[in-house]
Symmetry: C2
Subunit: 128 residues, 2 copies
């Protein structure tokens, strides 16, 4: 399989796949012409990575998850730990963003949006 087909089937850009090879997440073979030759197992790994990334896991987490996936002697707790830390980070980020959203909503709601210079948004930022 060439990179184009893998990209299609894994739903990842070819650039991303090359990058994943660069950082050692996948190690495709090479054809005699220099083209990358992906096996089904490489495709499978890439799809795994795509799904993990879609859940917001960092590349470092993905690497760890992939290793655990391939390690028959892993424990569920190792996997769960990674997921839980990640979940906490996401929850924290959501609450940060929710606070920004609330403030912004309030400010936007109070701004007339007309052609006069007076604006509560700027007032709030200037905090005079």
């Amino acid at each position: 399989m060439n990179i184009g087909e893998v990209a299609n089937r894994a739903g990842l850009p070819a650039k991303t796949i090359r990058y994943y090879e660069d950082i050692g997440l996948v190690r495709p073979m090479r054809d005699s012409n220099g083209y990358r030759a992906f096996r089904e197992s490489d495709l499978h790994k890439l799809a795994f990575l795509g799904r993990a990334r879609a859940l917001g896991f960092s590349i470092a987490d993905c690497r760890a998850l992939l290793q655990l996936y391939e390690d028959e002697s892993r424990t569920a707790s190792e996997v769960k730990d990674i997921a839980q830390v990640h979940l906490s980070r996401i929850e924290a980020k959501i609450s940060d963003l929710a606070e920004m959203r609330d403030t912004l909503r309030d400010l936007v709601g109070r701004c007339s949006g007309d052609d006069r210079p007076d604006c509560p948004i700027l007032k709030s930022l200037a905090d005079d």
Copy 2:
């Protein structure tokens, strides 16, 4: 005022203030010894920037907001537009994150977290 005092009073790291000067957001004077010499107006600008950044505005947005702030002939609509676009982005990000959170919560909740290798999190990522 030297950079240290400004950093304290504006609540920004000195590194960040130097960076803001680099990209032209503030233009402090210089003392004869080469030290940056901040006026009250610089401090005020930096505090403005700090608050805008805390609301998640990008540096580009901050630059635009600062310009509007200093432009007496601005209109509230120009400010509101920037804030509204930003608010939409935040709302979109929150909903992306909320979806990840829901999926992760479900997976984490279904993972025993014990010392056996079987784990629904990995199963879901592998999607066999």
